[in-house]
Symmetry: C2
Subunit: 460 residues, 2 copies
């Protein structure tokens, strides 16, 4: 134990070091929730690389003292971004849930791997129970089906395309894309770029991903989907997969799942719902109607690390038909998935994954669910949507500052008082993209943000 | 802040909760390094699902008290596996480095995302500096090239195949596999199954992955590679990619990289070195010769979370030619990678990844490197290889118990005293696969393991 640390300290010194890190972290947490603390203390890359106030990022041959390691920890936090700050609205994953954080600390202490029941018995069972609960909430009878936690929504979406291909053209697994006809994927022009990444990576080609038109609120127009499906078929291609987005990245739009499902059923196409962002609304009796029809999907991506406030990374891919994940990905590696183990090896879930080693993403989520109950997640979602309505009502009659969003953003980063993203969309110029999922944010923080944008705009 | 916890506790109660979790974790750590503690307390899935001694895994609608959450944390650890125990030899990732653990705790507290410099300035720079250092150690001039941390070696290997395809057939990105001739991949029959998973997922098909014969020590026979390359070309196919393994999963064999590189250069084939396991040897002046020729590879997978003892997940894919990762994967999403930001956007590395959100895997590794120095990693690697030689010398004259490995394994799990994996390979029957990378293991633990296997064998 003693020689685990560089300076050959004894056990007590080792534990003392860890407790000192904990003190740094708890101080950081207290400040993060204090609105008088800046969200960030911005520096350009070259400034940090030159060594701000002695903060040396370079690695060296010789060990540093534990005292210096503690200084490094403090500096790392000092020059970082407080994503849990009540005025951080920059990304879809924000906030810092203390129970979730405790769950992550335990997870790293356990430092194990999800591939087999053998070395992660409790976590494997927690994953199974939680995935089943999520499938029940999606609306699949008795929570039947399958699923796995993956390293983020992009990988979950990639899984959905792989599984769809395996369902209709299983021979691609062994013979490659040459064994299939030209396969066409469909998704909204507003959908997340991960669908495009998947089409490139998996060998479909981005030209075989057809973008669907959206209405003025950013929702897919079902008639456009049907027209494009018919067009593809007339060209002799095979429509394979439709992605409907529940909560688009920029507008937060919900595609009309039921109308899309009608078309998918009519033409025998796999329906995936990308609920990476909007899946959390399924926890709310008041708002889940926005995902009406989700139970008709063949697969669903749902990221608890977004609107539900679970620490990164926590993303689930849910599949309605059992056996496809295994069939698609299994390679039966003899050193991990021995069929002659002394326990029920159906709990060895590793061969369903495209990963081998797989980080334990379930525990923090499971622990938060225990601590909040289903009702607690519901309250959180309802609060976020209330805040969002509050913001909408507050600014609906104000316009004009979107033209200068990048300049205001730069000033906001320099002042460090709040953080919100911006982007252009189609023919629209740059505008701010406001994300509300931070459990620490209140109406006063929304007020602050609007005032701050106006204040910075006036300074231009 | 107060309402972050279910029971609306005040700030002090919240911090108190977190500190109580820390106490549970530090007690767990102390016991993990105590050899009189069991490695695991084995129970079958149905036993845990039925609720061992009140440990209820089921999720419910209503919140639990914080006291109950603490009990859940204790139970989770109680029924788990102590992967940091000095007598855990079961997986390639073992051990519990305290500085690495502190790094993980800080990482989860910072709870941010690697896609942009904007929200992870310090971590993004640490990743760049560390990847450059790793490339220098691989032997690429001035550490030039590119790379990224990915969620495990299987994904890193998948990247290598994607990049190779993009290098030679960039049109596959837009037009799909139909735009390329029949492409052939080569890897050892002893290589990790992730290469096969990648061939299936990316649309090559597993039949287009040719397995290479190995010698008696599990190393690829270069003449077999050349014969198979010529055979593929004669059939009109295009040999695209060769994977050489540095440290196979079961035998720990090192393929002869220089001889394989000669063939790859002769036939213009991408050479990837899968050093997920063996990459750590590059840190040792004494042992790095086993990877001679690695600097001739086009890409290298190297998992610090294996032999170097970094907590899971920490895997790097390194690429010799700059620009390929970006070219292969970029989709230029406007809401994240705005070209008009106020800082140097070449630091926004997210568009190189197949992920969107990306967990911060770098900090724990960076912090360990600071604490140990390059020399500390070297000492650790040298110690592991010394222990491995010790084990080899100790058992080379003993034989006979491999026939009953599964039975002994089952008894070992029940008794919980130590843990080692087993598997068959080719025509060989089940044998134990001994992994030495745990920094806490000493010669006495090796002695214990051998005695324990014999003791359990005698009880049969």
């Amino acid at each position: 134990f003693a020689d685990l640390l560089p300076a050959k300290n004894g056990e007590e010194q080792t534990m003392q070091f860890l407790l000192e890190v904990v003190e740094i972290l708890t101080n950081y947490i207290r400040k993060t929730f204090d609105r008088s603390t800046k969200v960030l203390d911005f520096h350009h890359p070259h400034q940090l690389l030159e060594g701000m106030e002695g903060f040396n990022l370079e690695l060296s041959d010789q060990p540093e003292s534990l005292e210096q390691i503690l200084v490094d920890c403090r500096d790392t936090l000092k020059y970082g971004v407080r994503t849990g700050h009540p005025r951080f609205f920059n990304q879809l994953s924000t906030g810092l849930d203390i129970v979730g954080l405790a769950g992550e600390w335990l997870t790293s202490t356990a430092n194990t791997n999800m591939f087999t029941y053998e070395i992660a018995p409790v976590f494997v069972l927690m994953e199974q129970l939680t995935l089943k609960k999520m499938r029940e909430i999606v609306g699949w009878p008795d929570g039947e089906g399958d699923g796995i936690f993956s390293p983020g929504g992009a990988i979950s979406n990639m899984y959905s395309v792989m599984i769809a291909r395996y369902k209709f053209f299983p021979e691609v697994k062994t013979k490659g894309m040459a064994a299939a006809p030209r396969l066409i994927l469909f998704t909204s022009e507003h959908s997340h770029y991960s669908i495009k990444k998947a089409s490139a990576a998996l060998g479909f080609g981005t030209e075989n991903l057809i973008l669907l038109k959206t209405d003025e609120r950013g929702r897919v127009i079902p008639a456009d989907l049907e027209a494009k499906v018919i067009d593809a078929k007339q060209k002799g291609f095979v429509p394979l997969f439709v992605n409907a987005t529940a909560g688009t990245t920029v507008y937060g739009a919900f595609d009309p799942i039921n109308e899309i499902a009608d078309i998918c059923e009519k033409y025998n196409i796999w329906l995936h719902v990308d609920g990476a962002w909007g899946g959390g609304l399924l926890m709310s009796r008041k708002h889940r109607h926005k995902l009406s029809g989700v139970e008709r999907a063949n697969s669903v991506t749902w990221n608890p690390h977004k609107m539900m406030g679970v620490p990164l990374q926590c993303s689930a891919i849910l599949v309605r038909e059992r056996g496809l994940l295994q069939g698609c990905n299994s390679m039966c590696a003899g050193y991990l998935f021995q069929p002659d183990k002394q326990y029920d090896v159906t709990y060895d879930t590793g061969d369903k994954a495209i990963q081998c080693g797989r980080h334990v993403d379930i525990f923090k989520f499971w622990l938060m669910w225990k601590a909040k109950g289903t009702v607690g997640f519901e309250q959180h979602i309802d609060k976020c949507l209330d805040l969002s309505a509050y913001l909408y009502n507050k600014i609906k009659n104000r316009e004009g500052y979107e033209m200068v969003a990048p300049k205001i953003k730069a000033m906001m980063m320099e002042s460090g008082t709040t953080m919100v993203g911006y982007q252009p969309q189609g023919e629209k110029v740059n505008f701010f993209r406001m994300v509300i999922s931070n459990p620490a944010a209140t109406r006063s923080d929304i007020d602050f943000l609007i005032d701050e944008i106006e204040r910075l705009g006036n300074d231009l």
